[in-house]
Amino acid sequence: MTPHHDEPFRLHTPEFSGLNQQLDRRDFLKRTASGLGALALGSLLGTPSFGATPILPKAKRVVYLFMAGGPSQFETFDYKPKLQSMLGAALPDSVRKGQRLTGMSANQASLPIAPSVYGFKQHGSTRTWVSELLPYTAQVVDELCLIKSVYTEQINHDPAITFFQTGHQLPGRPSIGSWVSYGLGSENQNLPAFIVLVSKDASKDQPLYARLWGNGFLPSEYQGVQFRSGKDPVLFLNNPEGYDGTDREQMLGYLSQLNRLQNDAWSDPEVNARIAQYEMAYRMQTSVPEVMDTSQEPDEVFDLYGPGSRDKGSYAANCLLARKLLEKDVRFVQLYHQGWDHHGSLPKSMAKQCKQIDQATAGLLIDLKRRGLLEDTLVVWGGEFGRTVYSQGKLAANDYGRDHHPRCFTMWMAGAGVKSGFSYGQTDDFSYNIVKDPVHVHDFQATLLHLMGVDHEQLIYKYQGRRFRLTDVHGKLVKGILS
């Protein structure tokens, strides 16, 4: 075994080295297993903190609404009125500046500008422009912190979404939720710290894969656990047929004894992960059915989230479920809604997509707010990249497509620690380049961690001889959006 496996954890800051001396490894694991994260422990034992000033966490929980496929900024939040007069005109080279295009539109004879067919109106006390496709979101726009200047380095789905989730374009690194769960642990002992919900009602034009919420090289108890809508919300959690489960606890007791013996001999963190997972699974046998049961929710709540919310597994139902999980202090809930990859007939598909998510998203915000959860929950909405100003394929008056565009797109955050009713960043008249306050994917990740009280440069895991971070060697805190 390489020696680093003997270190109880790898946050290499002075306060932890003190802690390492105070506790032997078994002691540490016992404590972390019972719900106190690594950071939590360090400070509970009163080890003074040196170095960087500690950050006061504003967000205790995160719900990340991932719009997989790359929603168009032109039909949602980035209002570009000047384009209306340029319908069909070629995209000027001075704007494109030789930017690489995907293989899908690189060989097109022309790149005709396609203004949005959908209108925009100003909403809320901040008079923020929102597309008519999002009439419900428009009603909560005063809660949002729009970031119109996000950019990424990737132009295709797989690397772009992997980049967003893990900070690197190649698979194999831990997802944001895993990092957070590793760094902060969970306050709820009966549910995983990182839970994933995938909409069943979205068109599956681009695949999602479990590695997007994988733990990478972190111990495997930090991976995202997907809750499904069917009979078994979590696979393999129920007792097998013909077994009543009465001696389950005893059985697990013996098993964990065996595992501990194994662990004494091998000191492999995966053995501990296995022990923790068995114990968690046992507790989840009661906690999961409880939290998945929405039958006690009043009609008013279903009305708030919209008609889809009674259909388990839909985006709306997942939003409602997300609220229930957040109420239980689950640390990181991530929803995925696919179907935003509109290379052709965008106006029609966009209307359908927006309708699927609009009311439930706004409903989630209202529901969190009135329960007092929005003050310490961060809500994030966004895809892996934006879309081009020019039409991919033929441009007709009411029909066009848009190709992938990494150089600027819109996301929003709401709730804990971010300004509300605020727009950050600005794109040019073509929403092709950023003219003010660019926010790189790593900047977004650094900011998310900061809001949770973690310095992205301190959350480190040593693996295969080097130290890894979510933000690699990059990432700047976006101070402009912090409240």
Partner: protein, 488 residues
Amino acid sequence: MTIAEFFGRFHPLLVHLPIGILLFAFGLMIYGKIRKVEVGTAVTLAWLTGAVAALLSCGAGWLLAHSDDYEAEAVQVHQWTGLATTALSFLAYAFANYRWLLALVTVILLTITGHYGGNLTHGEGYLSFSNRSTEASDTTAVVIAPEVVKQDSSVAANQPQVRRTFLYRDQVVPILEKNCYSCHSAKKKKGGLRLDNEALIQKGGKNGSVLVAGNPQKSKLFSYLLLPHDDEMHMPPKGKRQLTSQEVAILHHWIAKGASFKEEVEVVHNQVLSAVEALPILPLTLPNLVADSAISLQKETSALVSVETSILAKPTDAPTASTVAYFQQQQVTLTPVQQGTGYVAANFVNVKAYQPSMLKELSRVQGQLVRLRLSNQPVRDDELKPLSALTNLNRLNLENTQITDAALVELKQLPKLEQLNLYGTAVTDEGIQKLATYPQLKVVYLWKTKVTPQGIERLKRAKPTLKIEDGQQRFTLPDTNKTTKTQS
């Protein structure tokens, strides 16, 4: 900054070379003598290197001394001993025969030079044992103590009495002395600023005045303290001892009251000046004073905006391991509010079998508990009594518990409570009017209670600053053909 100043600033770095090398050379001589080994060549080389390094740092020091930051007199001794050390070290290199004597004198001079240099950088008295241990006086509330001129103790209550305060001498000077003098006084006047007497404070520094009497926001003496720590202009600079929130508050108070350098005499009529009442205790809620500063300060000051921040600014011990273990066993999750602090949040989300006694046990963390989440537990009014001892409780979640109006009387005792979640409880219009008397309350959640819009209206009138979340926001149904207007 001129080129000369730029190189001058390398002096504090460079000086460590001759110190190290010359001491090493001397050490090597002793070593050679004791172990009887031949070290001659090495010693000669070491003396030469040390002497050259000393010369270089003299050069840099010369440039530094001629920048505006230092008083010429203060530098004198350091300068001449430094030059002497350099000269002697060259001699020690050149005259191997007298080396022992020369080396001994050099080392002594070196020590003296170093000491005076240290005084210049860190302030006089940096090395002395006394005066340094007075820092432990971070009290909860700062008492800007005016001396009450005690008249005859039998004086009738209605007689006018005299109250004397000398804020500048008693409160302000000690703060400046402790935090500012090392760079802004006779020895060293960074930015041309000296803070060690009235005239010089009034005069300000190179970039103008630092004090605008009556206006803390415009006074750099105050506003620079609030800049984010990584801001270049933040004072005291990174790495130096930072002012406590109390000290910041005192400076604010002093400037806001007119920044007087004199003793204030006040005649107080018709008031019983009992020992306690005589002392106006500053509500040291930084937020109050920062809230208005924040608007005028261009830079971000959010770090100081909440009561919570001011609680956390005061150091506390972490709960003991046995306390943590106790709560763990009760399924109560205890987490620190932020990394490295002793203040904690207690969460009852995992508690399966709630017992009223669990609230009593919170006294184990009574000074440290900042947030408490009792959501969805069958908590009753009379069980909340122990909560009134939680003097630092800042956020309290009581949603979906069984409490009623009676609980709101009890909770009034909490001096630092800012956020209170009452949604899903049986509180009524009558009960919530008590919230107006909560000293620090900023946010209250009242969705799904027995409260009516009229009750909320009344509360709003009584406490206009309170943010009330009643959960009444509804969607207007969008027309499929037209976009809708928002309601808010």
